[in-house]
């Protein structure tokens, strides 16, 4: 029985499978495995980038988990950011994608406009602009003033600064939007026609056809956006000028890791931080995959 199973596998796809995987496998071993193993080794050393690494055993991990206030601060900031930005961004991307999929006039123009913020990335220009929007006498507060609200300096007040980064992340919803759009395009139009004939309204069609049909794409966006949010670096780096301030309120995990590695010459410690992050992300991803059995439908 095992033999026939094997024969079927080998006979059908084993050779072809590895053939198709070959470019990726080469890249995987040279570009990913090698550097990753080196960083794993470095996580157990004291390495200042410029002189030879010194083996220190578990010392880095011990210090991170027991005596590092900045690690705790950056964890809190990062988890907050993931929890706030991922659902908001995905919801906005899905709503806009569905709205744009309705076959309205001027579609391609809207698509381009909505993708525009993502084109701008987190550049120096965005950093300057974000200050002018969210500072004490910025445009946001000017807009609130007629309603009698005197807003704080959102971007530089430790109680609100993280929200301005969440706003930046949500505002740049272009990538998941495009992926949703591509997914919506794979839904056969006749399904909607049949539903219309049965008298289903837009909301019912959305719930009964659109969402179930694009669960693989929702799943993909959820995984990718979660991983990206955990690894998010540039918004905080650019907007806080690399400090994660004020008072560590925007200290993303990877920004802290970067400070340790390149600001303070502690690459060993930073590598340990990186592997802790990898384990956290891996747990989240594994949980998502487990849950996907119950809500993601593939055509198989």
């Amino acid at each position: 029985m095992i033999q026939s199973h094997l024969r079927r596998l080998v006979g059908s796809h084993a050779v072809a499978g590895y053939g198709f995987l070959l470019p990726w496998l080469i890249g995987f071993f040279f570009l990913a495995v090698g550097p990753s193993l080196i960083s794993l080794y470095l996580a157990f050393t004291d390495f200042d980038l410029l002189t030879s690494p010194e083996w220190v055993g578990m010392a880095n991990f011990e210090r991170i988990l027991t005596a590092d206030a900045k690690f705790m601060a950056s964890m809190r900031v990062t988890f907050m950011f993931v929890i706030l930005s991922v659902p908001l961004k995905l919801a906005l991307a899905l709503i806009v994608a569905v709205a744009l999929n309705k076959g309205l006039g001027g579609l391609s123009i809207y698509r381009a406009i909505f993708y525009l913020p993502s084109l701008l990335g987190a550049s120096v220009a965005i950093a300057i602009l974000w200050r002018q929007l969210f500072s004490g006498d910025g445009l946001v507060n000017m807009a609130l003033e007629p309603f009698g609200i005197i807003g704080p300096s959102w971007i530089s007040n430790p109680n609100y600064s993280l929200w301005t980064l969440v706003a930046l992340s949500v505002w740049q919803f272009g990538a998941p939007m495009i992926i949703f759009l591509a997914g919506l395009r794979q839904i056969p139009a006749d399904l909607y026609e049949a539903a219309s004939l049965d008298g289903a309204g837009p909301w019912r069609q959305f719930r009964r056809i659109t969402v179930p049909m694009i669960t693989p794409v929702i799943f993909f966006n959820l995984i990718i956006q979660t991983i990206d949010a955990f690894k998010s670096f540039t918004p905080s780096f650019v907007i806080s000028g690399g400090t994660g301030g004020p008072i560590n309120s925007t200290l993303f995990y990877t920004l802290y890791l970067y400070q340790e590695a390149f600001g303070f010459f502690r690459m060993g410690y930073a590598s340990a931080l990186a592997w802790i992050l990898l384990i956290i992300i891996a747990v989240f991803t594994a949980l998502s995959f487990l849950s996907s059995r119950y809500w993601v439908h593939y055509d198989e």
Binding site: T51, S52, I128, T243
Partner: protein
Amino acid sequence: MREVHRRSFLKKGIAAAVATSIPTRHLWAQEMRLRLSWWGNADRAARTQEVIAAFLAANPSVQIDGQSLPGGGDYWTWLATQSSGGNPPDVIQMDYRYISEYATRGVLLPLDDLIGGTIDLSSWPQDRIDVGKVDGKVYGVSLGSNTGAAILNLSAWEEAGVAAPTIGTTWEEFATLCADFANKTERRRFYASQDASGHDFSFEAFLRQRGKEMYAEGGTLGFTAEDALVWFTYWNDMRAAGACVPADVQALSEGNVDTSVITTGKAATGFAQSNQLVSYQNANKDRLGMTAFPVVGGGAPGQYLKPSQYFSVSARTANPELAGRFLNHFLNDPAAMRILGVERGAPESPDTRATIMPTLDAPSQAALEYLEAIADLIGPLPPAPPQGAGEATMIMKSVAEEVAFEVKSAEQGAEDLVSGMGGAIRAS
């Protein structure tokens, strides 16, 4: 035993992968070739390339790759990657805060022998050579120096009808002027001063005026929690009087020109460097000027001439002699002096300053004159910042923010500052 073997094997593996590539270096050694890297804007790049071109014209067998890089954190990440990956440039533009980090880790070549021979610094005062010393050896030659300066929005001070601070104004007088300004100015959400409680150079000047130092010899802190408490209390009082910007306005500033409270139009006084006045003026519609940092009445001179950058030479360079010859040309060739001007700060050699003075434009001349005008307030050079000074600076900014946002009392902040900064320079 086996444990040890495995470790040393791994270490060699990493050293091979992470550190070096010997064959490539030997290939380069055959040619007379230098790689030269600096950070800065397009103006600096143009001036530097012009000097390189002149040097090459005089030395046809040589090749120099000049590389202009974006400044700030990008440059240091880039340099760490190049150095760690085994490919550092031969001549490296270095910063005051990083020179001991790189020198003590063996990246830089001691220049003492070259300074005796190829590089002629005979016209330099000895203490200006010593600014490049780490642990008794010279690891960088200063390309120019500057000192702290209070940038003033003269238009705003005049509008308010309050006399702007001048050279010799004490901290107490400054506080009074600022409180007066707060009462009289008609500008909305506009304050007399930056909140400098987290600004390392202002604090350092204040400490030196009190007879202390930021860092003492031997890599320890040169001040106590008491000093820090006086400092934090001063700025708490300023904030309470509306004499300096509130905490959430100060937190917008990243310590550079474009985010400073002067440029964003929030305050009439900002604490910066003497060579930055031109940049500040270009980004501002109002008329600006500068003066010295306030002083402690009857105190010691607090400011000092800080090298704005050095050229250092890589310990791995195949052509130390050529690097030395280039540095000598860069510093001592009259044509090079005139091309470079004071773009990298005031030249260290009095001869050089005299040579270029007539060729400078008005703002550059003003920068040099400012250094002479405040000569009495300029003290001796402090001990070189120890390893970990960069991290300590960041801790200072963060603790000052905690005090300003009233997360911590001034007393608590002062204690945390001493333990935090002390820990940072010990840990490294």
